[in-house]
Symmetry: C2
Subunit: 268 residues, 2 copies
């Protein structure tokens, strides 16, 4: 049977998870490291969130969604293979994310099921998928969003899946999740503001994806609402907020603090 | 924000999970009942497998996949809404399946994570998604499959997600999974043979979906390979096999035995 489906799905899954910044996976590893959780354990949560994120990009790039042909500097899955492969690869990557969390090395049973519960919630109809639907609805509504609306939309669309790996670290470390949750909330929003700035100021070759699509589509963004300088100032405030949230961890959190600064300084 | 995405995703999720035979959910409930697992517990596994199955149908019906406009007697999601909604609804239903399994009422932490592991495996790139990819590859290869190939393909495409709820019953009942696994393997294959027979002999109004698509596409099926009588005889043998596997449970398994018989007698 191997000759009938000669590894297409697994090849395309590997392709879809190659490259990228690995921001979410890094966040899981670094949050867990605050509590001395071994890499061999936290790497499961890190892999899970990267697979989940990769699936969302593969589906988001589909012609019926954002219709993107370039991602991480490479042709998107439906361009390199076809749409059916893109649908299936996304579906399989979502399954695989949960399979990784269920691995006995990912934690004890309680930790693992807590990770599953959080990831399912963050990615589903009250989290990431809701945000994507809100994004589509906003475009269809044909009016500019307010700053509150766009903040809520982005908290769902990208914030939930940035918050989860930070919280995963606390679950694995059996620690209070509140400081990491505050940190993640701030960097999640800063990340999106930085994305909007990158969409205007960025370089396609470095970003590895099409830019200035939002402006062309007349979509409200943090930049269109706050202006370029206003957006940069807001992002810088959020980074300070994120760094402040990490105070309880002192110097142990220096990498997470550097990550917060990277988020608004990045060029991709 | 509610006005921007006025419940479209949750409406369409409800629509996608309405109707149908609920075979997989019933199987979870009845398998669990063998071991006196309360309904309030097993209903989570039952709901999870129905959501998982519903997502697979929504994505399978997409224009880039099987391109079906009718399902359970109603327009498919991408016809009633649009393709983007169908992609997102399928994605959200998959998340929701795992959310249901993570619910504290679904079992203790070990049972819940075992359910998650099994469902993730059955639905992913080594199970259902693999079967769908094999199905697409078989069509593209443009040659008829052998009986062994089609049996393997169907074991992945539909068998894995019929086996899981039966096994879920054993997990919840802390019981030996082997007899239920044997039972599920037999009814899974019988189910697919019956589907192929229905595709030839069935009535669209009763089936609630388009029929005779496989024959029109020149696809190898159990009927094209074994003949109509041969396929019926094979399905009847499998039902006997399934009933025999339930011997350890005596009269407690009478509903599961009746289910095996229904699987080849159904008209939808």
């Amino acid at each position: 049977m191997a000759r009938l489906a000669p590894g297409t799905i697994s090849d395309a899954m590997r392709y879809a998870t190659t490259g990228g910044k690995r921001l979410r996976g890094f966040l899981a590893l670094e949050s867990a490291r605050l509590f001395d959780v071994p890499f061999a354990q936290s790497v499961h949560a890190a892999g899970a969130v990267e697979c989940l994120h990769a699936y969302s990009l593969v589906h988001d790039d589909l012609p019926c969604m954002d219709d993107d042909d370039l991602r991480r500097g490479q042709p998107t899955i439906h361009v390199k293979w076809d749409e059916a492969t893109a649908v299936l690869v996304g579906d399989a990557l979502q399954s695989f994310a949960f399979e990784l969390l269920a691995d006995p090395d990912a934690g004890d049973a309680t930790q693992r099921i807590d990770l599953v519960a959080g990831l399912a919630r963050a990615s589903g109809a009250d989290g990431m998928v809701l945000g994507q639907a809100q994004d589509i609805a906003a475009e269809a509504a044909g009016r500019a969003l307010s700053i509150d609306e766009i903040t809520e939309l982005q908290a769902n669309k990208t914030g939930a899946l940035i918050a989860w790996p930070a919280e995963a670290g606390a679950i694995l470390g059996r620690a209070d999740p509140v400081p990491l949750r505050r940190y993640a909330h701030a960097i999640g929003l800063a990340f999106q503001i930085a994305d909007d700035i990158l969409d205007i100021e960025g370089d396609v070759a470095k970003a590895g994806k099409r830019l200035q699509k939002d402006a062309a589509a007349g979509k409200a963004t943090f930049v269109s609402l706050l202006g370029l300088d206003g957006a940069k100032a807001r992002a810088a405030d959020l980074v300070e907020e994120a760094e402040a949230a990490l105070t309880p961890y002192g110097d142990r959190a220096r990498t997470l603090k550097a990550l917060a600064r990277y988020i608004i300084a990045r060029d991709r």
